[in-house]
Symmetry: C2
Subunit: 324 residues, 2 copies
């Protein structure tokens, strides 16, 4: 079991306590955000909670089987607190993604890529609906389905490369190239000698992407097999959920242990310094959404995004405008 997850589960250290103080909605604070030309801009932000990245990033030796999918690492509040923090942080999240975009107009090559994986019903759709529902010009979401004939005629990373976010964008992958070592491995869709070389290919690919300026945040939403049954049951009971169900979902359940083994292999082999994996316990939907939002926020804050300087003479333009 990963050290960080274990520590969180116990929650005894003083460092822990710091991360867990946010059980109530954080107050709004006004921050003076510096701009590239030395000025500053007032921005309302929710007081950062912090610590989700550290709490959820997996360590060497992490074991999926040892993680409680109902736990809430890094947060000791209840559901209503979590929802409040999520809502309160939307302004800052929107602001940071806008700064990311603005920086790109001034030549920055930075971008962010969120990769979301998880078993059926793990809550990937909820991330789309409740976390990354921002200005659609600042986010580029791709759902990877079974590959088309054309996609299959190329290397498995071909369609991934095409979906990489443009500079200044938040890219979101709902499933990803990891399916090529998950379902493909479990169902033997290609021979082992082929899928077994893909882990190294993926690491090289992600290194290239990270070096080009894109911050990669990989998230596995982790639910229990029982929780999945309850969620699939709901899809069979609510006519507005039928379209999300396919009989294949139960087939996949029957290979649950194989999938967990394939996920464990991904975590063991593809969590790198430049593109670490985070495992988010996802039996509680509110927690999973909060955690993914906070992972994104922590990454965006760390990028130290500044509003670009004016590339024109401000006083000249004010005079021209006044005369127009």
């Amino acid at each position: 079991m990963g050290k960080r997850h274990k520590k969180k589960a116990k929650g005894k250290s003083s460092k822990e306590a710091k991360h867990r103080r946010a059980s109530a909605a954080p107050p709004r604070v006004i921050e003076q955000v510096p701009t590239a030309d030395g000025r500053s801009v007032e921005t309302k932000i929710a007081e950062p909670i912090g610590g989700f990245t550290e709490a959820l990033r997996i360590d060497k030796g992490f074991s999926l089987a040892g993680l409680d999918p109902s736990s809430t690492p890094g947060f000791d509040g209840a559901k209503k607190d979590g929802r409040r923090v999520l809502a309160a942080a939307m302004d800052e999240f929107t602001d940071l993604t806008e700064r990311l975009y603005a920086a790109s107009t001034a030549g920055s090559r930075q971008g962010v890529l969120l990769v979301v994986q998880g078993m059926d019903t793990a809550g990937k759709g909820g991330i789309m609906n409740h976390v990354v529902s921002i200005n659609p010009q600042n986010v580029q979401a791709t759902a990877f389905k079974a590959p088309t004939k054309e996609e299959l005629s190329h290397d498995f990373l071909w369609r991934i490369e095409k979906a990489l976010p443009a500079t200044g964008q938040l890219g979101v992958f709902d499933r990803s190239h990891y399916e090529d070592v998950l379902i493909v491995r479990v169902l033997d869709l290609v021979p082992e000698r082929e899928w077994s070389t893909r882990y190294a290919q993926i690491n090289a690919f992600e290194r290239k992407v990270a070096r080009s300026g894109t911050r990669i945040i990989k998230v596995m939403l982790h639910i229990s097999k029982d929780e999945q049954r309850a969620r699939l049951r709901e899809r069979l009971e609510r006519p507005d959920k039928y379209y999300k169900y396919t009989p294949g979902d139960v087939d996949a359940r029957e290979r649950w242990d194989d999938y967990m083994e394939a996920y464990q292999a991904v975590l063991d082999k593809c969590s790198t310094v430049g593109a670490p994996w985070h495992v988010v316990p996802a039996n509680r939907k509110w927690y999973a959404r909060l955690a993914v939002q906070q992972l994104l926020l922590e990454a965006l804050r760390d990028m130290d995004l500044k509003w670009p300087a004016a590339d024109f003479d401000i006083e000249t333009e004010k005079a021209r405008l006044a005369a127009s």
Copy 2:
């Protein structure tokens, strides 16, 4: 001046009164939404205000010069009321766009395309940030900038065609093919004999799109020249707005009347039954956002979107799931 705008400006008829009752936040109501297989689903919706489409769709003979950009046709509430209604209607908007997507998974060919035009600072970005910030997998937004060399080597509709939303999606155009009869006409970027034939081309193109199942909603955000000066001034005063300003914005102001003439020509020639134009007074940002949201809602409601029926045997699947 357009009859509908004129009527709204006076606001005397009883029909008017019906459209204007929503000055307070509408209460939430529970609606039984029918599904394709005859069942129904409970959905929380805000009580519809209604009437924006009728209030804002232009009539034959409409004159842009006669419309007050500070008016609020179809709504007599104040700013705080408008914001409350906007927020209250987000759930229904999200629900309807999800139903649009769900229907496409069951073979529906329906989609929606929102075309947003307006002078610089008219509030196009605010529509992206405050109206269509939904699940990014259900919305496909494209900002049309100056065409690239490759785009210029094709017909002007080539890049538009490529950006059309997939079935089940809400497409959003921030600027559009109309630039090819707006800036292109004002700045003589192609000879008149070329741009003058484009209106008919556009009408034929949009007819084709509408016939394929895509509901087209075209919106011009209309601000006054004074309001534009104030908004550009703000961009010159706030370091977090510099990146939105270019000296060319003042150049365009100097051709304001020519632009209004070009917009008038668009409204005269390209408002068709299948793809009508709506002119939204946009000096009040809160009103413009509310109006565009309500135009989308009215169109989506009118499409009578149903959750698809199950394409599997529900009882069989429940049994399989229980055993898994």
